[in-house]
């Protein structure tokens, strides 16, 4: 029986839009998120945070709490493992400071009390003596010779000798001879660009409820994109075993990459261990802004040479990203994604990873790619203006296709960039006349997508329905898509499948829900598990009929005898086999576990109309269209939702979102009032068009869709705003004060 060659053409359920399985709970407020768990005897934890951007911790005096009956436990760095290295050490150092406070908001100590109010009061009684050190929060400043040193010896071996200790990573990629390429150009443009740190802005705060027994057995309920990773990290930081810490993922109110990191779970476990009671920690929004990870701020330089006909002859870029007080900014991703949409003979990209006195950056949708696209696509737009070329034509002339050598190395397999550009060209939005005062911007964007460790289990119930256990938290509708896949494969109705995000004790290791990997990897695993189940169903029927495995086959939800020689047996449905499975050989379960390769890269093209009020600098987004290659859209509504979400977050990042530090390095806008994500009325209706160029690495052709959608918006909006305001905007965010300032500077 060969189940491997699934026809990619004749889907019954995949590609339809059934109702989401988590809908009722969510609209009635009954879905349980991170903060919605309670246990008898539960305590509340609170974390003391540094009021300084950079300071030596001379002493932490907790003596005032010793006789305080309300305080059930206090923990500091001494309560965690001390022999960690590498990223484990970085995580620990980030969630509980060691010798130095490295940024405003860095955790110093934590307490657990019966009420949150008591816990907050207890924090006020902890006396910390600091020696304030000079600090730096700007990426360019941090690279300068006399910049304060965050931490000696953090640099990776890639960094050339003799650089400032804050420079901790170097990346270089490209091919050809850029100097020769620039000589061939009719016009060369180069420019500096800056972007500010942007937070993922998930509405649900980080929250967890943790129990740890004296014998090292732990239980954690938390909102996370990757509970297996939480178990692994907690075990390391507390010196326990990963198998002893069982983590259950709650419903999740947004993550966008930011909930791939671990912040409070080890602290809650450490408090629980001391207090011998369950401990709940819920971060405030202020803590989220100060102490969880936004994406990097950047300083970039891009130089491109072009022929009069629009053909790019050479491209070069330098991408400096600060990642907070730790190594790990996505500078390599910036450098690799920057020129990925274009087929270039001569290209060179350099990335620098820089440390600053800011919180440790965390992943944010397509880390590194949106900023790089902002720089590159702004310059391409400028070429179009100066050479009087159509922005879509120029991109088509240079677009990569199947077989193109990518700017970052490998050859592309089948890809859909040209298809998105062609769709943009014939979209009514592109044909619509541009009103007076409005600017139109175009941009392309690219993201790799990913596979990763994946494991699922598909159990058949006695009544012929199916229960799927996955290990990837559902951050974008994956329970619906996975149920559709099972329904498609087993020929049972969508409603007869229930998909559950299982806890860490139930399945093998699953990598975090990140890298736009879930519909690709968990989807692939689900197809394979269903095929495994079908094989077992065939075996079971064969056994019942007394036939060989080869004498039966699967068709449309039935096992049938293969041909007249096999005998005259009534085909058996899944339900028939399920009903008697206890007597015919026991439970029937399909499995799959692997680290699937074959993730398909994806491209998008966005079209934006923006209008700038030249008296106040206020920008309104008048019209927005997202066109993206999904490979195959399992549940098109969710795909459209991802497209729109990327555009919405991009609009915020482009127009208003930023981290504002004062002269002392203290974050000035640690709340949603002054960290301005868009509200609903800021957004136009965001139009979407799904392109389906199948990914050859997936049975249904699925590519990831969650990240590519945030790659083009910064550039597309900047191009529209620049056009409307009549000046080139080279810095994000393009908030009203910054637009007026740029217009004033331009007028001399």
């Amino acid at each position: 029986m060969a189940f491997d060659n699934v026809s990619a053409k004749s889907f019954k359920v995949v590609g339809t839009r059934p109702e989401r399985p988590d809908g009722i709970e969510k609209v009635t407020g009954q879905a349980r998120f991170g903060a919605d768990a309670y246990l008898p005897g539960m305590l509340h934890g609170a974390i003391l945070r540094s009021p300084h951007a950079h300071a030596k911790i001379l002493s932490i005096d907790i003596s005032a709490l010793e006789n305080d009956k309300s305080v059930k436990a206090v923990v500091t760095r001494n309560d965690f493992e001390c022999n960690l290295t590498g990223e484990d050490w970085n995580i620990l150092e980030n969630i509980m400071a060691g010798e130095k406070a490295l940024y405003d908001g860095h955790a110093i100590a934590a307490v657990a009390c019966s009420s949150l109010l008591e816990a907050k009061d207890a924090l006020k009684k902890i006396i910390v003596q600091y020696e304030i050190l000079p600090h730096v929060t700007d990426v360019e400043e941090a690279m300068k010779e006399n910049a304060p040193v965050i931490r000696e010896g953090s640099a990776r071996s890639s960094v050339p000798k003799g650089m400032h200790p804050n420079i901790v990573g170097y990346h270089e990629s490209g091919h050809g001879d850029v100097e020769a390429g620039f000589k061939e150009a009719d016009l060369i443009l180069e420019e500096n660009f800056r972007t500010e740190a942007a937070h993922q802005g998930y509405i649900e705060p980080h929250a967890c409820l943790a129990t740890m027994m004296p014998d090292g057995k732990g239980e954690v309920w938390c909102c996370t994109q990757g509970h297996f990773n939480v178990a692994k990290v907690c075990a390391k930081l507390l010196g326990s075993d990963a198998s002893q810490i069982r983590v259950t993922a709650s419903e999740i109110g947004g993550g966008f990459g930011g909930k791939t990191a671990v912040f409070i779970e080890p602290v809650a476990l450490a408090l629980s261990k001391k207090a011998t009671h369950p401990v709940k920690i819920v971060m405030s929004r202020n803590e989220i802004f100060r102490a969880t990870g936004p994406t990097s701020s950047t300083s970039m330089h891009v130089k491109i040479g072009m022929k009069k006909n629009g053909k790019i002859t050479a491209a070069e870029g330098t991408f400096k990203l600060q990642g907070g007080a730790f190594p790990g900014s996505p500078m390599a991703e910036s450098a690799m994604c920057a020129f990925a949409p274009y087929e270039l003979d001569n290209v060179r990209s350099v990335g620098w990873d820089v440390m600053c006195n800011r919180p440790k950056q965390a992943a944010y949708r397509a880390p590194g790619s949106p900023m790089a696209a902002f720089a590159v696509e702004s310059i391409i737009d400028e070429f179009c203006k100066r050479l009087k070329l159509d922005p879509i034509e120029v991109r088509l002339i240079n677009a990569v296709t199947e077989g193109s050598k990518s700017s970052y190395g490998p050859k592309f397999q089948r890809i859909g960039l040209v298809e998105t550009l062609e769709a943009a060209k014939s979209h009514p939005h592109y044909a619509a006349p541009i009103e007076r005062g409005v600017g139109r911007g175009i941009s392309c964007g690219f993201w790799f997508n990913f596979g990763g460790e994946t494991c699922v289990s598909l159990a058949l119930s006695e009544d012929g329905t199916a229960s799927l256990s996955v290990g990837t938290p559902d951050i974008g509708g994956s329970r619906a898509s996975m149920s559709q896949i099972v329904s498609e494969e087993l020929n049972i109705p969508y409603e007869k499948v229930r998909a559950t995000v299982a806890d860490t004790a139930t399945l093998g290791y699953n990598e975090i829900s990140h890298g736009s990997r879930v519909t690709f990897a968990t989807g692939l695993a689900t197809i394979k598990a269903a095929q495994d189940m079908k094989k077992k169903l065939c075996l079971r029927a064969a056994k019942v009929w007394g036939l060989d495995e080869e004498a039966v086959y699967w068709e449309e939800g039935y096992v049938k005898p293969a041909g007249p020689n096999a005998g005259d047996h009534e085909p058996l449905s899944i339900a028939d086999i399920a009903k008697t499975m206890g007597r015919t050989g026991g439970p029937i379960v399909g499995h799959y576990e692997a680290s699937p390769e074959g993730a398909g890269v994806s491209f998008a093209t966005h079209i934006v109309d923006a209008k700038v009020d030249k008296e106040t600098g206020f920008t309104s987004i008048e019209r927005y269209t997202v066109i993206q290659d999904a490979g195959k859209a399992i549940h098109p509504s969710y795909v459209e939702g991802q497209f729109q979400g990327g555009a919405a977050q991009g609009i915020g990042w482009a127009l208003n979102e930023e981290y504002i530090y004062d002269k002392k390095g203290i974050l000035q806008n640690a709340g949603f009032l002054d960290y301005r994500i868009p509200v609903a009325s800021d957004l136009p209706k965001i139009d979407t068009e799904i392109i389906e160029v199948p990914n050859p690495g997936h049975p249904y052709g699925v590519r990831g869709v969650g990240e590519t959608s945030i790659c083009p918006p910064l550039a597309a909006i900047a191009n529209a705003v620049s056009s409307s305001a009549g000046i080139r905007m080279k810095q994000l965010p393009m908030s009203p004060p910054k637009i007026l300032e740029a217009m004033d500077d331009n007028n001399g």
Partner: protein, 286 residues
């Protein structure tokens, strides 16, 4: 923390004046509850005034619109008689937060919180509104402008609180307007606000009040700017002068919400636009 919810004014006066510790009045709570949650205030007593019937009054008495301290913003923005008379005050109230916030929030709470950026205040001041205050010594009336001391502070003694806002009936051939500037479209805090109240005679402006918000510790009367537009029909050169004058009158600070230069510039633009809008409205009613 003690919680009180009196049902009559007399009870309220009694409870409030006799409590000696730190205390807060709770109207809609959209400022107070946020401040409690974020540990900005921690009063020993909170007195809810929404249960007092007489504070829900919203009617015309003795030549004044009388708005009780418990009247929600939604009630104000839905009162068509009031809106047609004071569209600018209603605009200010209608900008507060969102539908949900407006179902709780009160105009008196907005005024009493005394934020420099409060959206309810500039149009009230431009309309020459007053408040009725009660305390142990009885009641008194004070105009809104002189009630405000500075950010978060009112000229009230420890036992006093506000029961009503009194807004004079609008004159003939007159109209008001309130505009604010925010970087988003809603759910934000004014970077600059401007309330205008004016009257016209023979198509020309016969009297005008221009009040700027969020560009100083309390609202600013832009009287010199208002004088510029008197007897004018807002021609181009008058408008330009007015704009420059308002830029100068504004005394903003530079902070995360914008630089001094930016705020001055926007103050001028808003004054211009609010004036033009109020003028157009006044012509319509005359």
């Amino acid at each position: 923390m003690k919680y009180e919810a009196p049902e009559t004014i007399d009870q309220a006066i009694d409870i409030y004046s006799k409590f000696n510790g730190s205390k807060k009045i709770l109207a809609g709570g959209t400022d107070v509850l946020v401040q409690l949650r974020t540990d900005i205030v921690r009063p020993e007593m909170v007195m809810n005034i929404k249960k007092i019937n007489s504070l829900h009054e919203f009617c015309i008495v003795d030549g004044y619109w009388k708005i009780g301290a418990a009247v929600s913003a939604s009630k104000i923005t839905k009162n068509t008689a009031f809106i047609s008379e004071w569209p600018g005050i209603a605009e200010g109230v209608g900008l507060i937060g969102s539908t949900q916030i407006q179902n709780r929030a009160t105009l008196v709470g907005n005024l009493s919180n005394a934020s420099p950026a409060a959206d309810g205040i500039p149009a009230l001041v431009a309309a020459n509104a007053k408040v009725e205050i009660v305390g142990q010594q009885g009641s008194r009336v004070k105009d809104v402008y002189s009630l405000i001391e500075g950010p978060g502070k009112l000229h009230l003694s420890k036992d006093e609180f506000i029961t009503h806002i009194l807004i004079p009936l609008q004159r003939d051939r007159s109209a008001d307007c309130y505009l604010r500037f925010i970087p988003r479209t809603e759910m934000d805090i004014a970077v600059v606000g401007c309330g205008v109240n004016l009257s016209v005679k023979n198509q020309s402006i016969s009297s005008a009040k221009i009040v700027l918000g969020a560009v100083g510790p309390k609202v600013i009367f832009a009287d010199e700017a208002a004088e510029l537009v008197l007897n004018s029909r807002l021609d181009k050169d008058v408008i330009l002068k007015l704009q420059r004058m308002c830029e100068e009158i504004a005394t903003p600070i530079s902070d995360k919400r914008g630089s001094i230069r930016f705020r001055r510039q926007v103050a001028g633009v808003l004054a211009k636009r609010a004036l033009q809008k109020a003028y157009a409205r006044a012509l319509e009613v005359s």
